[in-house]
């Protein structure tokens, strides 16, 4: 149909699935003053963030996550490439138009960046003052937002009197005040303890669903991705090495960096004492190490029972069962003991059922037992 219209010379009808809130094309950013070694922070980034989604960018430190996020509202202007938010090419705007455009992009920060000398409500009101709201409309909007983030009783406190989680709630209220379409989260939970992190992520999730707000966040913690994201982008050395739906990334990770991040989160890193003995080929008396990812019914099903029925001994080396998008997600490192053929058949069957199985190599059975 699209082809037919193109042939007829008429504009292609909007058949595309939900429009992209953010489109980044060919972003490049190089840091480094004259005469000093240069660092390529962004090395040709193309990314589309669908409207209404929560997209998480994860990567090791120095991967360019922060530069990427800060390029979206042009806090850091890329050296090349275009940034389109809500259909507007921000890179083409003059300063005044860019400032107006930024008012529809909320942002929260790792260290909250609240004004110490304004009260909680003053901090939220600031965003509206800067956006030129009339005084009479500001107070009711601030009250509404503080209720949304659960801080109505703290309106007249100064930030110094708040906990980290409460400060981030103020940050969220401030970011949401001018009714943005997009929320950027710059390591927003990295300074918080695990329980507070969970609460803030739940709040972000709630806002995303209630307000239909698109969220783009950067994090170095896979747990944040697991708890909140719909879509994952893995960044390394300024390039996107893998991206996809969060369940796909968790169950079938492709790139080594993704696998590395994931094994940390799922507790399936091979213990050091075993890793040193792993061989890529089987020797006599070896067991086969595999990492298994399974989501949903299969994850909750009797995987170990099936192995046992097939006559395969399955030693548990490492692993965890965690919720992922409301479903059980199982990640295990197993030491499989049995004939090569039987194991191969079982691996094929489990893969057909939707399990992701990664071969890790072979290790002596007594090395596993020695742990």
């Amino acid at each position: 149909m699209a082809i037919a219209s193109a042939v007829a010379g008429s504009p292609v009808p909007a058949l595309t699935p939900p429009a992209d809130m953010i489109r980044l094309e060919g972003l490049r950013k190089i840091f480094g003053a004259k005469g000093k070694p240069q660092v390529t922070a962004l090395d040709g980034i193309d990314l589309a963030v669908p409207a209404g989604s929560i997209t998480a960018i994860i990567g090791p430190s120095g991967a360019g996550k922060s530069s990427l996020l800060r390029a979206v509202n042009l806090l850091e202007r890329p050296d090349a490439g275009t940034v389109t938010v809500g259909g507007t090419d921000l890179t083409a705007l003059d300063e005044a138009s860019l400032r107006r455009a930024r008012q529809s992009i909320g942002m929260i920060f790792q260290h909250f960046n609240l004004l110490a000398n304004r009260t909680v409500s003053g901090n939220v009101a600031l965003a509206l003052e800067l956006a030129g709201w009339q005084k009479a409309r500001i107070a009711p909007r601030v009250t509404e937002l503080l209720a949304l983030v659960g801080l109505s009783d703290k309106a007249d406190q100064y930030p110094a009197a708040l906990s980290g989680g409460q400060k981030q709630r103020v940050g969220i209220a401030r970011a949401l005040a001018p009714q943005p379409q997009l929320l950027l989260c710059d390591e927003a939970t990295s300074a918080l303890d695990p329980e507070t992190t969970r609460q803030i992520l739940a709040l972000i999730r709630q806002i995303n669903q209630q307000l239909g707000l698109t969220v783009l966040l950067i994090t170095h913690e896979m747990s944040v991705v697991r708890e909140v994201a719909d879509h994952v982008v893995v960044l390394e050395a300024g390039r996107i090495v893998e991206q996809g739906d969060v369940t796909r990334i968790f169950t079938h990770p492709h790139h080594p960096t993704t696998r590395h991040f994931l094994s940390g989160e799922t507790g399936t890193q091979l213990p050091e004492r075993l890793a040193v003995h792993v061989s890529p080929v089987a020797r006599a008396g070896d067991v086969r190490l595999v990492r298994l990812h399974a989501l949903g019914a299969i994850a909750a099903g009797p995987i170990l029972g099936r192995l046992a029925e097939a006559g395969i001994g399955a030693g548990l080396v490492a692993g965890r069962v965690q919720p992922l998008k409301g479903q059980p997600f199982t990640a295990l490192v197993l030491a499989l003991d049995g004939s090569e053929n039987t194991i191969n058949n079982m691996v094929t069957r489990l893969r057909a059922d939707g399990c992701d199985i990664e071969e890790l190599g072979y290790v002596a059975a007594d090395a596993v037992a020695a742990g």
Binding site: N117, L130, P159, A160
Partner: protein
């Protein structure tokens, strides 16, 4: 202490306060904007004007490194042009003001530069104009630091004002030198020193109290 002496002390105190107040006010009018310019217009700052910023910075350093007593003598022509005379309390406010401007500029610059850089990110992300960043974020966040710096400047002015006795500026320092030292009246010297101590104490505590009220960065128990 004789009534004459008391009257001398009262006059001298009034002269010192007048000099400090006038020079302080004028120096704030010059020094605060200059300090803001130094803080905002350096390379990589909010409103970069690196060349002018650097030149003004050099001028500030030059003025600050000139010993005050030499400044007093060196600018006599300027003083005469501005006040019509080179002696007396009015004339003394000219070098006092000139010495205080760069001092105030530097303390204001420091206070503004100490504002957390993350706040600038937040402000820019909210679409703030440079003017809004200065008036809504930098100045309110730096106000306690600025007040502390101005307190320091006021205390320094009290000290400098004692030196302008050299050009007949009057004031407590002058009284202390002429009566306490040259006429050897230790009770006069003691009285002058005590008044100066009390004066500095009042300035320092007042400034600190004001800064504490303005400063919401820490919980107060």
């Amino acid at each position: 202490m004789s009534p004459q002496m008391l009257s001398l002390l009262a006059d001298a105190t009034a002269q010192t306060l007048t000099m400090v107040a006038i020079a302080g006010t004028l120096a704030c009018l010059g020094g605060i904007p200059l300090g803001l310019f130094l803080a905002l217009c350096g390379p990589g700052d909010l409103l970069p004007r690196p060349l002018l910023q650097r030149s003004l910075g050099l001028l500030v350093n030059a003025t600050r490194s000139t010993p005050f007593i030499i400044l007093v003598v060196a600018i006599v022509p300027l003083t005469r042009a501005l006040t019509g005379t080179s002696i007396g309390t009015a004339a003394a406010t000219v070098p006092l003001t000139l010495a205080a401007i760069p001092f105030i500029a530097r303390v204001v610059e420091t206070a503004v530069r100490e504002v957390d850089h993350g706040l600038l990110d937040a402000a820019r992300a909210m679409g703030a104009t440079p003017y809004q960043i200065v008036t809504r974020i930098l100045l309110p966040e730096a106000r306690a630091g600025i007040v502390r710096g101005l307190t320091l400047a006021a205390v320094n002015l009290v000290g400098y004002s004692a030196m302008v006795g050299a050009v007949g500026g009057g004031g407590l320092g002058d009284l202390g030198i002429r009566y306490g030292y040259q006429r050897f009246m230790p009770e006069m010297m003691l009285a002058v020193v005590l008044i100066l101590i009390v004066l500095v104490q009042i300035l320092q505590s007042g400034g600190e109290a004001m800064a504490r009220t303005l400063d919401k960065r820490h919980l107060k128990g």
